[in-house]
């Protein structure tokens, strides 16, 4: 198991955002994380990425206990993540943004630059190299975030709704990019609402609702799962589906 989350809970005061969530990801897998808004997916992600310390439970990466470690430590260990609302360095150029990521693995500017350029090429941002991140639209920013975290050379990437809000063409390009990243050997855990992404990319899917995992299995199984449908659409829809 590359990443293992055991009985992770996170409480904010009296509000339990995540309750006893488990996750086991083997190297090379692509796992999908689904669930309605407010189900606790992002909070769970934050626990996995070291942004928040879980109230209970453990997070193990490659056998190392990272539960109480900082986000920096997680990144150094090889866990990279993107943010639901892109957090690119607005006033820095695309190249500089990616270089910040690259500097995790390289000490010197020249090497970091080389890696950054290579990754920018791969993610299709080459023409906007010298532009400030602020001038890119949201899809551009999402792509930049992916490029930036890719430059850190992660073994596992947590993508938080990285493919949301894209046009159909952009979506296809993004899916292709994610595939290419996977081919490089990166393990992926992606949070998505878009069914197409989950169906085409994910090998296994976890569904969150109200802080815990309510379903777990292959994409096809999940889509037909009663509890999942109920979570997304509410009770009424379940009954409706049963009618001819």
């Amino acid at each position: 198991m590359l990443l293992s989350a055991q009985n992770v809970s996170k409480a904010f005061g009296s509000f339990l955002a995540v309750r006893g969530a488990d996750l086991a990801v083997a190297e090379g897998e692509i796992i999908g994380l689904m669930g309605p808004n407010g189900a606790g997916k992002s909070t769970f992600f934050n626990c996995l990425a070291g942004d928040t310390v879980p109230t209970t439970g453990r997070v193990l990466f490659d056998g190392v206990d990272l539960t109480r470690s900082s986000a920096e430590t997680h990144a150094r260990a090889g866990i990279g993540r993107t943010f639901q609302v892109p957090a690119t360095f607005e006033d820095m150029t695309v190249l500089d943004n990616v270089m910040v990521g690259a500097f995790l693995r390289h000490r010197h500017r020249a090497d970091a630059r080389e890696t950054a350029l290579r990754i920018i090429e791969m993610t299709g941002l080459a023409r906007q190299n010298a532009q400030r991140a602020r001038s890119l639209g949201t899809p551009g920013r999402k792509r930049l975030e992916i490029a930036r975290v890719l430059a850190t050379g992660p073994r596992l990437m947590l993508l938080d709704e990285a493919l949301a809000g894209l046009t159909p063409t952009e979506l296809q390009q993004a899916i292709a990019l994610v595939r290419r990243i996977h081919e490089l050997g990166v393990t992926l855990v992606i949070v998505e609402h878009i069914m197409e992404v989950i169906m085409t990319l994910a090998q296994r899917v976890l569904v969150f609702n109200q802080g815990h995992v309510i379903a777990h299995g292959k994409p096809r199984e999940i889509v037909a799962n009663e509890a999942v449908i109920e979570a997304y659409l509410g009770r009424g829809h379940r009954r409706r589906r049963e009618a001819p």
Binding site: A71, E72, A75, R81, L104
Partner: protein, 319 residues
Amino acid sequence: MRWGLPALAALLLFYPFIFTGPFYWDIGVAFLLAAISASAWNIVGGYAGQVSVGHSMFFGVGAYTPLLFYHLWGLPPVAGVPAGMLVSLGLAVVIGMPTFRLRGHYFSMATIAVAELIRIFVGTWELVGAAIGLQGPAVGRAWWDLTFRSELPYYYIFLAVLAIVLYTTFAVERSRFGYYLRAIKAGERAARSLGVPVRETKLKARMLSAVFTSVAGSLYSIKTGFIDPESGFGILVSVQMVIVAALGGAGALFGPLIGALILVPLQTATNTWFGGGGSGLTYILYGGIIVLLARFEPGGMHEWWQRVAPFLTRRKHAA
């Protein structure tokens, strides 16, 4: 602007011979001092985005130690410069630790409070002259006392220090450390997620900035031969550093230089025109400039130029 840098260097180098006489040399020295302090501040305030308004604590330490070495042990003031740097370094670390968690306005407020505390404390400490302050050698005993009658030697010493500070900033800008500083300013949370060691980086930036600010303070007290709590640790010292850097462009290599270029002659002008009441008016002007800057062009002249320059060069090509 390939010719820009050599031209600037030449101008600075030959300035005392183009504009001769004590009046212009005085302005030149004041300009260099302002540029040095502001550049030192720029490292932590401009690049890392940690708006410290208490940098006078380092300036003051650097200003007091040389005169203290003279006052207590009769040593040439220059001997006190390294000690000032060391104490400032220590101070940066000690102050740095509790203030790491503080963000934004709260951090700035904390820096003001600490600087004020030090200022008042120094004002009560007999050993360092309390409210009266310290004086340097009235007449130089030898060349190493650095008590020159003319401004000229000071000019070139200050220029050399400025060159060192600018070069260091330039090297930092291009290094991993520099990228990390900018990342922290642009988004600490994202920076963390990329493995940037935020605490360590901030601390290093503060230490570097503190050391250079200390040197600026030393230069000041060696040249003027006098220091007291207000001129060393006063809040106006901190404010001037910030406004000079911000006016020219905080986070830009030559920002502080540009800021000093505008502000120092301005200050001299208002002081000359309005005589005694001049310094009051100068600060009214400062205040007004800062407010306008904050409201309309927070990126300073550097940012303004970057916005305007493309239009100017385009016109040139068209014509």
